[in-house]
Symmetry: C2
Subunit: 271 residues, 2 copies
């Protein structure tokens, strides 16, 4: 099972922390944090790291594509152009392999899911967010995430989700649609799936630290005014995002192959 | 007493909330929040609002200069050029008035203090922050503020302050220096002043809401995991910023007049 996730958002939004929480790995032990000077000069630097994980007894070769420097430099459009080119390049590689002699064991490096991190500091999507999503929504499954949701009160979070969904609608942006369960699935799974659908965009809180509370290890952010638990569904949609990725990993791959890749392929063949 | 504060920072960092908290006013009842589309098209829109307040029995004609759209559009340098021009324009007005016939009652609209809001989401100053401060530190007193400090744990906040001070030092940025107390001041005031000097950049938490706790009205942000009090010195430097502005209001004006204005004036006269 090969699964590739691209992670997009300004630096400092907790992307690395979330990836480590989601897949229980330390994917970035030697990560280079650019200084402000470096950020100004460089364009988006795309970096892929692969790790073998096991989800529910299934071995997954997980690749995380990090997009360092997104939104940092002072020239907006360059940001998503690099992402768009990268996604197309993976389609191109697949197309070449598929038309080659050995078609049985093609490596699939196409992006199956793009986690788009939205800052919880602004009142909704920023201009760059909208431009980027419009440039990529017909090439990849976009899953919008509200980063650092612990900076929002409950009311602010509800309003933020409404604003984002409204902006997505007004700008005709097509984000990933969680499929309905098959009608023969059990009620509990159908219930859970509906819950997942209703909570997009996922409000995320993540943390590299664990604290011992009442004998249990709790992942969370310890503030002077309280401990914010990552896995508390009243605080954060972390567990829902995790469920969504696990339950619908196959659908994310199928949509990529049957819709976005086919789009690319037919556009390419028509030229 | 005329005092003008310019407020600079990306939208959504809590600037309006802080101003209202600081001066106990509702300075922006009819504020227009631009949509993402509007943000993309417009450059920085500079807006001044004046209100009469009373601090410790002294009447102050306070002007807040808001800089809407700062950091929002995709073209970085345009942002601080507008600010720089605005500050120079106020010097120019004062210069004209000073060389005019009626020199006794000149209106002083020069910027006495610039509150620069730094996002607590990034690991320190962003490239735009550094470029902006370098463009303005010889024209105005810059007071750096870490906005939305409730998104930082105690350790993260300490590290953030250290990083910012280091970056300011490395980039030769000259921020406002709180003056020492006169040697004949009482010990308590000297102590307090040292405390103010040590806590720059001020880590701010602000809120429009008050909650009743134990019979008292507490300004704070109510999260599911706890109430974050604006005026709790363990959580936020709000009270320290407020003290600094009140105690040193006169010094901020004097430095503006004797250093930055004189600079402008001599540069102008040399041309
Ligand atoms: N307030 C808050 N901070 C977070 C959260 N997740 C991570 N952080 C902190 O944000 C900082 C940057 O995180 P990092 O994962 O390196 O961000 P990245 O640059 O987007 O990959 C670190 O200090 C993290 O501890 C969160 O959910 N809320
Ligand atoms: N987390 C957090 N949110 C804040 C703080 N201060 C204000 N806010 C919220 O941030 C949002 C934007 O505030 P506003 O003052 O309008 O920001 P401005 O665009 O910079 O003027 C509002 O929902 C405020 O309630 C703070 O200290 N921490």
């Amino acid at each position: 099972f090969e699964f590739t996730v691209m992670v997009v958002g300004e630096s400092g939004l907790g992307k690395a922390t979330l990836i480590n929480n989601l897949f229980l790995t330390d994917l970035y032990p030697e990560r280079h944090i650019p200084t402000a000077q470096e950020k100004l000069r460089q364009s988006v630097k795309i970096d892929a790291s692969t790790v073998e994980i096991e989800e529910r007894g299934v071995k997954v070769r997980l690749t995380i594509v990090d997009t360092l420097g997104y939104g940092d430099n002072l020239n907006g459009t360059e940001n998503y152009k690099s992402l768009s080119n990268y996604i197309d390049n993976q389609f191109e590689r697949y197309l070449k392999d598929e038309s080659g002699l050995n078609r049985r064991n093609i490596a699939d490096n196409r992006i199956h899911c793009l986690l788009y991190f939205i800052s919880s500091f602004t009142r909704g999507l920023k201009p760059l967010d909208i431009e980027c999503m419009k440039a990529l929504h017909h090439k990849v499954n976009i899953v919008p995430i509200i980063a650092k949701a612990d900076a929002l009160t409950t009311i602010e979070l509800i309003r933020m989700k409404q604003t984002i969904l409204q902006q997505i609608h007004d700008n005709h942006i097509e984000i990933y649609q969680i499929p309905d369960c098959d009608s023969d699935e059990d009620e509990e799974l159908k219930e859970k799936n509906l819950e997942l659908k209703k909570c997009i965009p996922f409000a995320i809180i993540s943390s590299e630290r664990t604290y011992e509370v009442g004998g249990k290890h709790i992942q969370g952010r310890m503030y002077p005014w309280g401990l914010v638990e990552v896995e508390n569904n009243n605080y954060s949609d972390f567990l829902k995002l995790r469920s969504m990725l696990i339950i619908h990993m196959q659908d994310l791959q199928e949509v990529t192959h049957e819709v976005y890749y086919e789009n690319y392929r037919s556009n390419k063949l028509q030229l």
